[in-house]
């Protein structure tokens, strides 16, 4: 996309997010969810990665995912507008066998929300607001389409997750290179949303530290508070750098290098985003521990997000292997 065009799209998403953000957990209701999803769908973002060549770079999509993460939103941008269209695009480039029946697919994950291993059980349709079907990528690259079932419980109050049928209809298969791209892309997009969440929440806690007074001073003037916020800032910048670089790698480098960069990014985000939100909550003090405050919405998002696709333990073991053996 041209830079101006991208700025326009991002500003549109930003305006949408400001309008539909949940002010507290009490705002998360069925009707408001549906309205928000309809408004997001009207932005037409699902075309960004659907065509070859795609209308938007991965770097641009990653920045939009960051933007979406900044506010507590119940909408599915990741699953239906970014992940599923990219999966279809990669399938079209490879071994597409059958058409997909649903109009608005999202992606399915193993029940523990990770990339599936050979015997994944209990599939769920992840990030499924507004979706009518779910696409599942098997460990060896086969892709199947699944029916949506009852809502599945999740600690992330903003995220729509439903059960998906165990049996799926075959749709095609990803080539090994496309499979690597798919995994890298999914890691980058999910990580980006978490980066946006962490950055925004730390920003809110910095604002609070300027306004909140104790002992006759703004709490942000105390060095202990300053250092905590400085450390959180370092974490946010670290995961931003890692994620944006991984996104760029997908646009410019080989699938193998992009996958390594994406794994690094997700590993960093898994720990950094959670730590940064902890720091922000500490600065907010007691108020952040209440149901009404947005803090726990952010905490829930990054906490569950750190388990989605690949946990820290999964990633560190892979990244500890010598270059030559990977």
């Amino acid at each position: 996309m041209e830079r101006d065009e991208f700025t326009l799209v991002r500003d549109m998403l930003r305006a949408f997010a400001t309008r539909f953000r949940s002010g507290s957990a009490d705002d998360v209701k069925a009707q408001t969810r549906t309205d928000a999803q309809r408004a997001l769908d009207e932005l037409g973002l699902s075309g960004l990665r659907r065509t070859s060549p795609p209308a938007a770079t991965v770097q641009e999509c990653a920045l939009l995912a960051e933007e979406h993460g900044r506010q507590p939103l119940t909408t599915s941008l990741l699953g239906t507008a970014l992940l599923a269209p990219e999966l279809l695009r990669l399938l079209d480039l490879g071994e597409r066998a059958e058409p997909v029946h649903g109009d608005r697919p999202t992606v399915a994950l193993a029940g523990d929300l990770r990339f599936p291993d050979r015997d994944a059980v209990g599939l769920v349709a992840w990030d499924c607001d507004g979706a009518d079907t779910a696409l599942f990528v098997h460990a060896e690259g086969r892709v199947t389409e699944h029916e949506l079932g009852a809502p599945a419980p999740t600690a992330d109050l903003l995220r729509g997750v439903r059960r998906a049928s165990a049996e799926g209809r075959p749709v095609g298969r990803l080539t090994p290179g496309a499979h690597q791209c798919w995994q890298a892309y999914a890691l980058v997009v999910v990580a980006s949303e978490l980066v946006g969440a962490a950055r925004s929440f730390v920003g809110q806690s910095v604002d609070y530290a300027r306004e909140r007074h104790q002992y006759g001073q703004p709490i942000g003037s105390f060095q202990a508070v300053q250092h905590q916020l400085a450390d959180a800032t370092v974490l946010v910048e670290a995961c931003t750098s890692a994620t944006r670089y991984a996104a760029w790698c997908l646009d410019s480098e080989t699938p193998g290098r992009a996958l390594t960069a994406a794994r690094v990014a997700k590993a960093e985000v898994n720990s950094a985003a959670v730590e940064a939100v902890y720091a922000g909550m500490q600065v907010f003090g007691g108020i952040a521990q209440t149901w009404e405050h947005v803090a726990h919405l952010y905490l829930r998002r990054v906490l569950v997000g750190a388990a989605v696709l690949a946990t820290t333990a999964d990633l560190l073991t892979v990244l500890a292997a010598p270059e030559a053996t990977r």
Partner: protein
């Protein structure tokens, strides 16, 4: 901080450079460090060899002895050195940037090519016994004589590698009354000048890295001042800002090398590793690659026109995190360094403890982030 897509360079162009550099490395085997050769002497030999191939100062304009490429080319060379297990690029980036920005045209043309080629070895005389974190408290004084030259008196401390250096980037007060940001000036001090005494101090790892510098009635010419009188403070801030980026200090390749060594060791000893050590090695790899990605992002932002500023405190803290965690882990992978004679890993481990002190302590970096990046209010005076 930018929220538009960043340009991390043209992959093909960078790949070509990587390819050329590899070809050059293949024909120029890495130097051996003979037992007992001090590290700076070894690194200096390496510096000269790299320079002979055109691999120093890639991002310095050609008229000053560089190659006029971008900082991303410099990153690529640094990256590749790490991958090859070679010593890092010479640590001159931060000095070169300070000279580029504050030196006169005559000084840039005279000093930069010799700095890049290794003909001149530089050290940095900022800290003093009474002025560490608080550089503004510096008391070394350069008194301007009516004839135009300066007479300098004072003492510097922690001047790394002064005993191997010919020139020192010296900060001294040129006005006793004005506040620090207006009263400090920068000079090029030849260390063989009468009145200069260099006394090495032994470091915790046993090396004699840093020195004390005594200055007794040392004469400096006006032409040896860099920038105008009073430019010393912004010059120092530029220098330390660049010094805090892992890219400019050439540390990246050193980390990359050790991580690959740890990975191989772990791979060979599969199954006999203590609990959690494998994932700690993975963590080090993540720290390192995050640092590389971060250095690239900051480089891309720099190319887009941002100069090194308070953001470099983030860089420094990330570099410190990577380095300290890496050497702690290395000592657990190679425990014999603790109960045997000790070796390079133990030495580097000790040096890694200094990472949170030199170039401004971690606390000072946090203060800078809080005040200058986040704009938090000034605290009660301690």
């Amino acid at each position: 901080m930018t929220d538009t897509p960043l340009d991390f360079g043209d992959p093909e162009d960078l790949e070509r450079l990587r390819h050329d550099f590899r070809a050059w490395l293949a024909g120029h085997p890495l130097p051996e460090r003979p037992p007992g050769e001090p590290l700076p002497v070894f690194l200096h030999r390496w510096h000269r060899r790299l320079y002979s191939g055109g691999w120093v100062g890639l991002d310095v304009p050609e008229q000053y002895g560089g190659r006029g490429l971008t900082a991303l080319h410099q990153v690529t060379v640094s990256d590749e050195l790490g991958a090859r297990g070679a010593p890092g690029v010479p640590r001159i980036g931060y000095l070169a940037h300070a000279l580029l920005r504050f030196g006169s045209e005559e000084q840039r043309r005279r000093l930069l090519p010799r700095m890049l080629s290794g003909d001149d070895v530089w050290c940095q005389g900022f800290s003093e016994p009474g002025a560490g974190s608080d550089l503004a408290g510096m008391s070394t004084y350069a008194e301007r004589r009516p004839e135009g030259h300066y007479i300098v008196n004072g003492q510097k401390l922690w001047t790394s590698y002064a005993q191997y250096s010919g020139l020192c980037l010296l900060l001294a007060r040129t006005d006793r009354a004005a506040p620090a940001h207006a009263s400090i000036s920068a000079f090029v001090l030849p260390l063989d000048r009468p009145g200069v005494t260099v006394r090495p101090l032994r470091a915790a790892n046993g090396d004699d890295e840093f020195c004390e510098l005594f200055l007794d009635d040392v004469r400096l010419e006006e032409s040896e001042r860099i920038g105008a009188e009073g430019d010393g403070w912004p010059l120092a801030m530029t220098t330390v800002a660049y010094e805090r980026n892992a890219l400019d200090t050439g540390h990246l390749s050193k980390y990359g090398l050790l991580i690959e060594r740890l990975r191989r060791a772990a791979h060979e000893r599969r199954g006999t590793l203590p609990d959690g050590l494998l994932s700690d090695i993975g963590r080090c790899a993540v720290d390192y690659q995050v640092l590389v990605a971060h250095a690239r992002r900051r480089t891309a932002e720099r190319l887009a026109g941002q100069s090194a500023g308070p953001e470099s405190s983030v860089d420094k803290l990330l570099m410190t995190r990577a380095e300290q965690r890496l050497y702690e882990t290395a000592l657990r992978v190679f425990p014999e360094e603790l109960y045997g004679e000790g070796g390079e890993v133990l030495g580097d481990y000790f040096y890694s403890r200094a990472a949170s002190v030199y170039g401004g302590t971690s606390q000072i970096q946090r203060n800078i982030i809080a005040k200058r990046l986040l704009g938090l209010p000034v605290g009660p005076r301690a």
